[in-house]
C-alpha cells in the first residue's frame, strides 16, 4: 500500500511563523529539515505573500509592511538543509514509526522523521445567525487574505463583527485599500473592556498597536460599537444588509435593540481556535486553554507533547499570536536539533525566558475578549449550524433535549461535523451551544475526535479507488456522505 518512506531529521508541519522559525533554527544547527505546507507559498496566514507578481509598495501601506516583514523571515528558508514542500497536505501520521502520509503535486508520498514539529496554526472562530451562509458573509481573515494575497477588495461597504484586536487592524487595512467600513461591532461592552484593560499594563507594544489602530478608525469616523453583534444577514441570495443587536454581559441579545444597516459584505472574527487535529491523530494529549477558551495541545517546557518525538509550537499549543509563534518555533527547532546531536546557534535559556513572557502578555489579551455562549440565543431553530451537512440549530437542540451532552454523541445523532470541513467550523459553535443549553462548562465538553485523513484527499493517495482515472464522489475519502 505504501512505498518506502523518504527520510529526514526533522519534519515540520506548517510554514507559518512558528514552522519557518523552527526550520531555520534547526537547519542552521545542521539538521536536515523538511518543511511541509498545504499552501503554494510559505508564510502561513499571518505572513501570506502576494500570489501576484506585484511589488509590495503597490499594496496599501499596512498590508505592504506585513508583506515586507514576512518576506524578510521567509528569505532565511533559502538554506541548503531545508527542503520546503509546498502544496502538500499531511493527512495522516503514524506516531510510533514517526511517518507522515503526504499528498502533494507528486501524488501520495510518505516521510519518516526522527523528530516531528507540528505548527499547524489556528482557525477563525465564528458564530451563526440568520443568513450567515449567504455569499457575502466571510471571515475577517478570509477578507484580509484576499487583499494581501490577491490584491482584491472583497466588497464596497463592510460590516465587521466579532471580538478582539483583529477587527480594528483589519478595518484599518480595508480602509487603506479604499473599502468603506460601515461599522465595527465588538462583542464586549465598553465597561468590560475598561475593567479588563489594566491587565495589559506593562505590555506596551500590545497596548500601543491597539491604540494606534483605534485612533485611525476614530479619525476616519468609523462607528465602533461595544456590546453589539450581528443578528441577521439580509438579502435574497446574497448579502445586501445586516441587522445588528445589542448584547448583555452574557452575550444574550437584547430584544428591541435591532437596527438595520446597509452593507454588501459582513466579516466575522470571534477570535481563534488552535488547529489540533493532526497532533490528536498522533495521540497527543490536549489541555483546555482557559485564557482563549479552546482546547490546545499540551506540552512540557521543552514544547514536547505526550507522544515521544512530537513537538508543537505556536497556535497549536494555544492561541499566542505571531511573537509567541516565532519564539516557540525557534525553541522547538533548537531543542529538536540538540536532541539529535546538533548544536543550535541560539541561547536556549534566554529564548525560553522571552517565550514565557510573550505567552503571559497574550494570555492577558485573551481574557479581555472571551466568546460568550449567550450568543447561541440569537440562533433561530431553522438556522444551519453545521454548514456542510446543513444541520439546523433546532435539530441540535432537540438532540440536547434528548440527553446528548458531548459533541461525539451529537455527530451520529444529527450528522453535524460529518461533512467536508470535518467539524472545523461547527465544532466550536456546538461547544458553545452545548454549554449554553446544558449549563456545563466549555472545558468539560470534549471536541470532536480527529481522524485521518484530516482533510479530504483523493482515494488514490490512501491506496484505493478505481483505475479509470475519472474522479467520482467515492474516490474521495474524508467527505462523509456526499449529501451536500
Amino acid at each position: 500500500m505504501f512505498e518506502k518512506p523518504e527520510q529526514t531529521d526533522i519534519a515540520i508541519i506548517g510554514a507559518g511563523p512558528a514552522g519557518v522559525a523552527a526550520a531555520v533554527t534547526a537547519a542552521h544547527a545542521g539538521a536536515q529539515v523538511t518543511l511541509l505546507d498545504e499552501s503554494p507559498r510559505a508564510g502561513g496566514q499571518y505572513y501570506k505573500q502576494p500570489a501576484l507578481d506585484a511589488k509590495d509598495k503597490q499594496f496599501p501601506p499596512t498590508v505592504a509592511e506585513n508583506i515586507r516583514k514576512g518576506r524578510e523571515l521567509l528569505s532565511d528558508l533559502q538554506h541548503s538543509n531545508i527542503n520546503f514542500q509546498h502544496s502538500t497536505l499531511v493527512w495522516n501520521v503514524l506516531p510510533e514509526e514517526r511517518i507522515l502520509n503526504l499528498y502533494g503535486p507528486q501524488g501520495a508520498q510518505n516521510l519518516q522523521a526522527k523528530r516531528i514539529i507540528i505548527a499547524a496554526g489556528a482557525y477563525e472562530r465564528v458564530t451563526p445567525f440568520t443568513g450567515w451562509t449567504k455569499p457575502g458573509v466571510t471571515t475577517v481573515g478570509g477578507a484580509q487574505l484576499l487583499l494581501k494575497s490577491q490584491g482584491l477588495k472583497i466588497g464596497q461597504r463592510l460590516l465587521l463583527a466579532g471580538t478582539g484586536p483583529l477587527l480594528q487592524l483589519a478595518a484599518v487595512q480595508f480602509m487603506e485599500a479604499g473599502m468603506e467600513v460601515a461599522a465595527i461591532l465588538e462583542l464586549q461592552s465598553r465597561k468590560e473592556f475598561l475593567l479588563k484593560a489594566p491587565k495589559l499594563w506593562g505590555h506596551w507594544d500590545k497596548l500601543g498597536q491597539g491604540m494606534a489602530n483605534q485612533k485611525r478608525l476614530l479619525e476616519a469616523g468609523i462607528p465602533f460599537k461595544f456590546g453589539y453583534t450581528v443578528a441577521e444577514a439580509t438579502g435574497d441570495e446574497e448579502v445586501n444588509g445586516a441587522v445588528i443587536m445589542k448584547v448583555n454581559g452574557k452575550g444574550i441579545p437584547v430584544l428591541g435593540s435591532e437596527e438595520t444597516i446597509e452593507v454588501d459584505t459582513i466579516c466575522l472574527n470571534y477570535g481563534f481556535a488552535p488547529a489540533v487535529e493532526l497532533a490528536r491523530v498522533a495521540g497527543c494529549t490536549m489541555v483546555f486553554d482557559k485564557y482563549f477558551g479552546s482546547f490546545a495541545i499540551e506540552t512540557n517546557e521543552n514544547l514536547e507533547t505526550s507522544v515521544n518525538a512530537f513537538f508543537v509550537a505556536g497556535e497549536t499549543r494555544g492561541i499566542g499570536g505571531v511573537e509567541v509563534a516565532l519564539l516557540e518555533g525557534k525553541l522547538a527547532g533548537a531543542i529538536a536539533g540538540s536532541q539529535l546531536g546538533f548544536t543550535p546557534k541560539v541561547d536556549e535559556s534566554n529564548l525560553r525566558k522571552e517565550q514565557q513572557q510573550a505567552r503571559k502578555a497574550v494570555a492577558a489579551l485573551g481574557t479581555m475578549f472571551p466568546l460568550k455562549s449567550g450568543l447561541c440565543k440569537l440562533v433561530k431553530d431553522e438556522v444551519p449550524v453545521c454548514r456542510c451537512e446543513e444541520v439546523t440549530a433546532g435539530e441540535v437542540r432537540r438532540a440536547i433535549e434528548m440527553g446528548v451532552t458531548q459533541l461525539n454523541q451529537l455527530k451520529p445523532w444529527t450528522r453535524v461535523g460529518m461533512g467536508r470541513c470535518q467539524g472545523r467550523i461547527c465544532g466550536g459553535i456546538l461547544n458553545q451551544m452545548l454549554a449554553d443549553e446544558t449549563g456545563v462548562s466549555i472545558s468539560e465538553i470534549q471536541p470532536f475526535t480527529s481522524r485521518a485523513p484530516i482533510k479530504p484527499v483523493p482515494m488514490e493517495s490512501v491506496g484505493g479507488g478505481d483505475d479509470s482515472g475519472e474522479f467520482t464522489w467515492e474516490d474521495h475519502v474524508g467527505y462523509g456522505a456526499a449529501r451536500t
Binding site: A51, Q58, P135, I154
Partner: protein, 92 residues
C-alpha cells in the same frame, strides 16, 4: 459589483478562464475564487440538500464552501487553486 481589484497593483496581461461556459478575466497568480469574485460572481455553488447559495467564506481552505469542478475534478477549493490559462470551471 461588490469585489474589485485594487487598482494600484500592476498585474501584467490578463488571461481568460471559463466559468460555466462564460469567459472571465483573470491574472497570473490569482486564485480561481478571486477571479470569480472580481467578475461579479459571489454565489459559487448551491448545496444539494437545501439548494442554498454558497461562496467565499474562510479563504484558507478549511470550510470547503467555495468548491467547484475545475478541469473535470470535482470539489476543488477555488480559494486554494490558482488560475491557469484556459482552465475550465463548472459550478456545482
Amino acid at each position: 459589483m461588490t469585489a474589485t481589484r485594487y487598482k494600484k497593483i500592476e498585474r501584467g496581461k490578463p488571461i481568460s478562464i471559463m466559468v460555466n461556459g462564460e469567459a472571465i478575466e483573470a491574472f497570473h497568480g490569482e486564485s480561481i475564487a478571486a477571479a470569480m469574485l472580481a467578475s461579479g460572481r459571489r454565489a459559487f455553488r448551491h448545496t444539494v440538500k437545501g439548494k442554498q447559495a454558497r461562496g467565499f467564506f474562510c479563504g484558507m481552505g478549511m470550510c470547503f464552501d467555495c468548491i467547484a469542478t475545475v478541469d473535470g475534478v470535482p470539489h476543488v477549493r477555488t480559494c486554494m487553486t490558482e488560475v491557469s490559462p484556459d482552465c475550465v470551471v463548472e459550478l456545482e
